[in-house]
């Protein structure tokens, strides 16, 4: 129930992620925010996991071996993809903020995302074949 009568409220944070009715820049915003939160979560996990390195080879290699199943690799690929999308989208934000390509931000977004897709595919191939 919308008891604050249609006014802005922190409780509406879910609308950040609502793609309905949004246009190019809005989708970019959604992608950017989801990947940001995802990467932040991953970064904390990553740091904790790397702590295993300090414990010597046994602990770390054991963990790595545990992570060599396809589901984990897909998870890892998702992280890589998030990083690439967030990073390339960041280029759009960086450029437009400094007044470059503001009128071309849609084309910029599509180009960068096409690039992101290619890079993600390359990484995906590599990660699955290396396994």
């Amino acid at each position: 129930m919308d008891n604050n009568n249609n006014q802005p409220t922190p409780g509406k944070f879910w609308t950040w992620f609502n793609p309905i009715g949004r246009q190019t820049g809005g989708w970019a915003f959604i992608l950017n925010r989801i990947t940001a939160l995802g990467l932040l979560f991953y970064l904390s996990l990553h740091l904790i996991v790397l702590g295993q390195l300090a414990k010597g080879p046994a602990g770390y290699d054991g963990f790595v071996a545990l992570m060599r199943n396809p589901i984990s690799i897909i998870g890892e690929l998702l992280v890589v993809a998030a990083g690439i999308i967030h990073g390339l989208n960041g280029i759009r934000i960086f450029l437009t903020t400094f007044g470059i390509g503001v009128t071309l931000q849609k084309q910029l977004f599509y180009t960068l995302m096409a690039l992101a897709l290619i890079i993600i595919l390359v990484f995906g191939l590599r990660m699955f074949t290396a396994a």
């Binding site: 006014q7 009715g21 809005g26 400094f98």
Partner: protein, 242 residues
């Protein structure tokens, strides 16, 4: 006169204190009519209790902003043809991020008072109006031309902005665009208002404001330009102090 369409108009209804719900009106429309015409006919012939705002009917007053099929539109210039099809539905809701007075009418007081506070100009010299294809050379007489600003103060940008949805403190695209049009050089007092977490830095480059702006304001571009102005100002101040 084109072939008539039969459409279902789904209108968000809400009297004071009520939870909003949709009422459906089946009606015959001309696809070359505007969404506002359909809404107006609901009031005139089908349901006299409908509340909505409108005035000029040709995109100069900014009163008739609504969400049409989830996208912010100035309904007086939105052809029915462009937003639905024969036998289709047309969902009409009030703008987001403004308190609803009733049904489709919202109270845009917050926008107007902020525009007032930053001193956004409603009229400005034609030479400053950033016309798309300006005459190659302004006639000397043009220097005196005063014209109404592009911003209709319709609130579409504030309804579309994801940042504005959660923070009522965010100045919002229209206000920042007004500040940009005034210029920091000429209005140094604006610097402390726009260079804050509720000012230009609250923008997350979603460009939704520009996507929905019905009147050439391009608020996103103006926000980006305002950022450059601020950075210049801040670095300038740094060296001036040193």
């Amino acid at each position: 006169m084109s072939q008539k369409w039969n459409i279902t108009l789904k209108v968000s209804r809400q009297k004071a204190g009520e939870t909003p719900h949709f009422d459906e009106y089946k009606m015959e429309v001309d696809p070359d009519e505007y969404v506002l015409d359909a809404v107006e006919r609901v009031w005139a012939f089908m349901d006299r209790s409908l509340c909505y705002r409108h005035a000029c009917h040709h995109s100069t007053c900014g009163a008739c902003g609504m969400r049409v099929n989830d996208v912010e539109k100035l309904t007086c210039i939105t052809f029915i043809r462009d937003v639905t099809h024969n036998a289709g539905t047309l969902k009409v809701e009030p703008l987001r991020n403004f308190p609803v007075i009733s049904d489709l009418a919202v109270d845009m007081g917050s926008l107007y008072s902020r525009l007032e506070e930053i001193g956004a100009r409603s009229v400005l010299p034609a030479t400053e109006a950033e016309i798309e294809n300006p005459p190659s050379k302004w006639d000397p007489a043009d220097q005196q031309y005063i014209r109404l600003a592009d911003c209709l103060e319709c609130g579409l940008c504030i309804s579309a902005c994801p940042s504005a949805a959660t923070s009522s403190d965010y100045l919002g695209p229209a206000v920042l665009a007004g500040a940009q049009a005034n210029g920091l050089k000429r209005n140094p007092e604006l610097l402390e208002i726009v260079d804050t977490e509720d000012g230009v830095w609250r923008c997350h480059s979603a460009f939704e404001c520009t996507a929905v702006c019905p009147s050439f304001v391009d608020p996103a571009r103006r926000i980006m330009n305002l950022r450059s102005q601020i950075i210049k100002e801040r670095f300038g101040n740094l060296f001036r102090k040193a």
